[in-house]
Symmetry: C3
Subunit: 353 residues, 3 copies
């Protein structure tokens, strides 16, 4: 069960080329995406209402798409624009989905179209402001539920173990995060730690590699699966401006209950024009996310099967607080939206802290 | 759920060689086929009654088949002809299925053997009369239910879109078919159109390629999945004999609910002795059916999952009339045979015509 | 449904190396095996109690194993030995399974640890006494339920058909076995036959290949799936010592309901120091078990699907007596252990004998 009245990241903008049809399942719905001749993107259910052929097996037609089986064509609003077999009756329509292009992403609204308000797209404007030599992105089709990916990011202590050789070091485990659930149903978690060690990957970027650092690390989670991450460090006691600062986004768009379209992009405040370093940076992140995170998330899902994590009564630790609170927000929104009960609430084990 | 008291096309006659065992699932039943030493074909359930080993993992034995596991052997009537471990008791038998060889096909009867009447095999005698240089055949294992294949053939307007470059042209869409359900539970649909264009593949076969043509196109459907197709065209106003004429069969034998053994063969009235042209003809048909039809049918099935098309409330068009009426006949026969209710009846949208 | 209070063969001892983690599913439970620094093997559930990550995706830590996701570590008793995120509370534990190393096999106890008594491991001491040049072993991951493998061994008449060219000959079919269910819930079946023919593979090992032989063949079955096989033959009327004698074990450890870890090993009384012959011997057995038995067992399982053989009402023969009686013992033990009803009892067809 997924939230519907949210904007989901569906494609990188530059992936949606003009002449091709782009099928992708979002939140269990098969959807076909295309750009019209003016470059405007459209999305409708990838299933002809006539005989349920996938429209993505057809072709672009005028500004819409034509079914390859019997020739019915539909525009981006889902209306029939060609019925070679008779008049166009009202039943000949296919569900259309609102789209917005922003921050290099095509966002899709899976719920009530009347409520589709572009302002609800999370602000990831830092992506737009980053020069191309300080920006990189990636996409990981992941065989794990979207909430497992959210759990992963909301507990960054995992970096100390899963990414020990590149993004870890122990500082996250030693930090005590502060967590804030905000009125707009986002959640902000921040780890601040002074006089600790910097993760190996960033060691070379500080002026005094042998001195301790002060670290700021935070995640702003949105219920649509978009998470904005900030990580920075400076030599202990020195101003933040003398250190390094990075902004990234990780976005978990549900494909099905147990599979996720995992988008991420990275930006930084240093070596802004260094294309070679940008390439190393992209490669290091890709390694961490695809070789370390993804297999672990998929392993977790295999152990869970079709069960929800919390229904399996995991032993919760204090470091799970942010993810548990985000899951509660998600369950509450889901309940409000669907009128159905979400998963039961679970408290971290008090004694385990 | 499939009809049982019908003859299903199971194999091409020339595929059933004498020494080998030939396993194939028909209507959910695993069956083993073989020829005895006199060349007579036999079929029994591919499951030893002793310990359920597949008999097809055994070997030919006398005029029957011997289980490879513990040596029990059965003849073509399903009777035990060897029990190395004791006397042959009545329980030691395996279900046998009546077979008939006709029209280059081995037909199998899946229902009550007492009702197996060879006269019920659809008359496809044109296959026998065609010279080898005007005959070609093909087989497509198709991951789609047999009724989707019937739907496809009973609405030949699809040729104008799915086969636009070879078998289309628009004439079928412009034609208005006549449909007749006959007392023998067959259905005949005919598209006649005058002064129209001929499909691209046949263009070179007419004396005046730039003149309009009169077209006759028809399908005779039988509840066992066999469909006889006739397509012909002649220069408008001229006798049929001056044009071209073709006869073909498409036969959809259910393997499981969502997979089908799709047999077809082609014959024609022109260039009867031209082996080179026959090869081009076979290749063109193979392309249309395997590269164009089969993927579309399988895409349709993926969208339907395990649901029946009509239960999904498709928007029906006038061109669906023949297939809907054939489905009704099928449902009625199924109900009569099984005593269970078939799928609900659905009317094409009157307003959509 | 499997017996739990038995010792299951889990690994060859020499497969469990010291530094690696060894995951394997036994009786539907994912389990991780490892050796500690003293070489002692351990086994715990392969699922971190925190977030259900597979522990096998982590690493060895002190004498235990550390989860690769958030760094929790557990020892071989399942107790938490490291929680980087807070105190070690009692809930932080993972189920441990008793292990015993014996007869070159690591045995695991899946039931109540208090009842884990090493004396209950079947005596396969002949494996320990065999010189390396008269010992060979093999492992077959088999997509068939463990009871099908037991059935196979308890009815050795199958050798006359399935292994006709190497281990058959017809003597087993002609023999009448004696069957004994013993007070310790084992079953002993013995085929004795005099003046018969020796299986082809052993022909060259007898002094008078053209003379008839007396054969002794037996299986001792244990409810944990371990079966001890003895096969020997001597020239008719001569003492056993002048003939050949072999001992082997076949052990069927359930992985899931329809898949089995199939272990076997072979020893013999002749050509004890002949490494070259030992290699031929190993190869002949591997051929028979992997090319002949395994595909047949998997074919049987395909025909059964998820159904139990006896529920499918097979026609039982006198040769099925041993396997049917073993299945009854198994069902009785299962019922006693779980308080649930086992499969219905079935009698071999009296008339078929």
């Amino acid at each position: 069960m997924f939230l519907k009245n949210v904007w989901y990241a569906a494609w990188w903008m530059d992936e949606l080329t003009t002449r091709e049809l782009h099928p992708r399942t979002i939140a269990d719905q098969p959807i076909i995406f295309w750009r019209d001749d003016q470059g405007v993107p459209h999305a409708v259910l990838d299933r002809c209402p006539h005989r349920f052929a996938p429209l993505s097996m057809g072709r672009r037609f005028e500004n819409g798409v034509q079914c390859g089986y019997h020739g019915l064509a539909f525009d981006g609003a889902g209306g029939c624009i060609l019925n070679p077999h008779g008049p166009i009756v009202p039943a000949l329509q296919v569900r259309a989905f609102p789209l917005v292009e922003r921050h290099n992403i095509v966002w899709i609204w899976m719920g009530d179209a009347d409520q589709a308000e572009p302002d609800q797209i999370p602000d990831l404007g830092f992506a737009d402001r980053a020069p191309s030599t300080a920006y990189s992105k990636g996409f990981l089709p992941t065989a794990a539920g979207h909430l497992l990916i959210v759990d992963n990011i909301l507990d960054l202590t995992h970096a100390d173990y899963l990414h020990a050789s590149n993004l870890g070091g122990g500082a996250m485990t030693r930090a005590k995060p502060t967590i804030e659930v905000r009125p707009d149903s986002t959640l902000f978690v921040e780890w601040l730690v002074n006089g600790d060690v910097i993760p190996p990957f960033f060691l070379s970027e500080l002026p005094y590699p042998d001195k301790p650092v002060d670290i700021w690390n935070s995640v702003l989670w949105h219920p649509n699966g978009a998470m904005k991450l900030r990580f920075g460090a400076t030599t202990t006691g020195r101003p933040r401006e003398e250190g390094i600062d990075t902004l990234a986004a990780h976005i978990a768009t549900p494909e099905t209950a147990n599979s996720t379209h995992y988008f991420y992009f990275n930006t930084r405040s240093f070596r802004l024009g260094d294309a070679e370093y940008n390439s190393q940076y992209a490669q290091a992140m890709r390694y961490a996310f695809s070789v370390e995170d993804k297999p672990m998330l998929e392993g977790q899902q295999r152990r869970l099967g079709d069960a929800d994590l919390l229904d399996c009564k995991p032993v919760l630790l204090p470091t799970d607080s942010a993810s548990i609170r985000a899951r509660r927000v998600y369950a509450k929104l889901l309940k409000a939206e669907s009128g159905e009960a979400g998963p039961t609430e679970h408290e971290p084990l008090a004694a385990a802290g």
